[in-house]
């Protein structure tokens, strides 16, 4: 089942603009390796799920996958061949808004090569440019 909030205050939200860089959730926290976005954008719940499925296959039998983003934003659309007006369309899908630097997924318990191969497959499914990152050194 695709991710979406359990309860919301308002069902429909305005489009908004993605400005600036990620100042939170921009480093590997839970696993050892991460997939970081280099561009701003929206990642739909369906895409997050597709990435999860691909990464899960890679970590099967050893390793743990963490999803660091959640689709909080509803995106509406009006049906094709509909006249303008008559109010805002219905919710089409839910999406996570990401800024450059946001960590999308993390993997723990895998070697670097295995994690890199897994995230390479996930990155191909993402609508934004991504890169493979490791944990920051502890100081």
């Amino acid at each position: 089942m695709a991710l979406m909030p359990k309860r919301v205050k308002y069902r429909k939200s305005q489009k908004g603009r993605v400005k600036g860089n990620a100042t939170r959730g921009n480093y590997v926290s839970f696993g050892e390796w991460g997939l970081q976005t280099l561009e701003p954008g929206r990642i739909s719940a369906q895409t997050i799920e597709a990435g999860r499925v691909v990464a899960s296959q890679a970590v099967k039998g050893g390793g743990k996958l963490y999803i660091r983003i959640f689709p909080h934003k509803s995106v509406t659309a009006i049906p094709a061949e509909t006249r303008m007006g008559k109010g805002k369309g219905e919710v089409e899908f839910w999406a996570a808004v990401v800024k450059p630097g946001t960590i999308l997924y993390e993997i723990g318990g895998l070697s670097e090569d295995a994690a890199r191969a897994a995230f390479n497959r996930v990155a191909h499914k993402m609508p934004v440019a991504c890169r493979f990152v490791a944990r920051r050194p502890t100081v």
Binding site: M1, K9, V133
Partner: protein
């Protein structure tokens, strides 16, 4: 315990507002230098710069202590904080705190989980919960990492802070009951239910104030 890294640093230009501030810092970074600051021991705060490559080598080496050569004067310092850019590629700023090597300090030390857990062979998954630990120790005796042997861990078992074997003079500054690492059974994947995508979230309706109510 690693030796303190020796670094040559320079003070920032005192003529231009001590060389501090956003514009001065950006110019320094463009020139391959990193702005930093030395403070502590109730002495003056000294804004300094150091080479970006040396700084990155120092941080990548997981060093805690450094000996800064500031125009002939040597300061022993602890790396207190490192600021990174949003992608975690470039170091933006470093905080150094003055320390004596005998002084007791608190710092974060990485936990190094060693060995192949017995529970992993039974289908379990070794899951580290904590990856670094706050410890109190003399500044001159900060361990590079704390080695934790996980080879005896069976499925469902874990290691807590109280079970850690710490080097002499090092005390953990954490609740003894905190779980560090455990071997858990892998979670079962849930299949998507047909038609589940059609479910919409519940809308929280705001409570309306009744007219005339105080």
């Amino acid at each position: 315990m690693s030796e303190a890294i020796k670094l040559r640093v320079e003070t920032r230009d005192p003529a231009k507002n001590k060389g501090t501030g956003t514009r001065a810092s950006r110019k320094l970074r463009a020139a391959g230098r990193i702005p930093a600051v030395i403070y502590g021991h109730k002495q003056a705060v000294v804004p300094i710069t150091l080479g970006a490559i040396e700084a990155r080598t120092m941080i990548a080496g997981a060093s805690h202590l450094a000996e800064l050569d500031l125009g002939g004067q040597t300061e022993t310092v602890l790396i207190r904080d490192v600021q990174w850019d949003h992608l975690g590629r470039e170091i933006l700023h470093i905080d150094f705190a003055r320390v004596d090597k005998e002084e007791l300090i608190e710092t974060e030390v990485e936990l190094d989980y060693k060995g192949d857990a017995a529970g992993v062979n039974d289908g379990g998954l070794l899951t580290p919960v904590v990856r670094s630990l706050t410890v109190k120790c003399p500044a001159g005796a900060i361990p590079d990492s704390i080695k934790v042997d996980v080879s005896a861990l069976k499925l469902g078992e874990g290691i807590h802070v109280r079970e850690l074997t710490l080097p002499t003079g090092v005390v953990a500054e954490a609740d003894p009951d905190v779980l560090l690492v455990h071997v858990v059974a892998p979670a079962q994947e849930t299949e998507a239910e047909p038609g589940a995508d059609a479910i919409q979230p519940e809308v929280i309706k705001p409570e309306r104030k009744e007219k005339g109510a105080d």
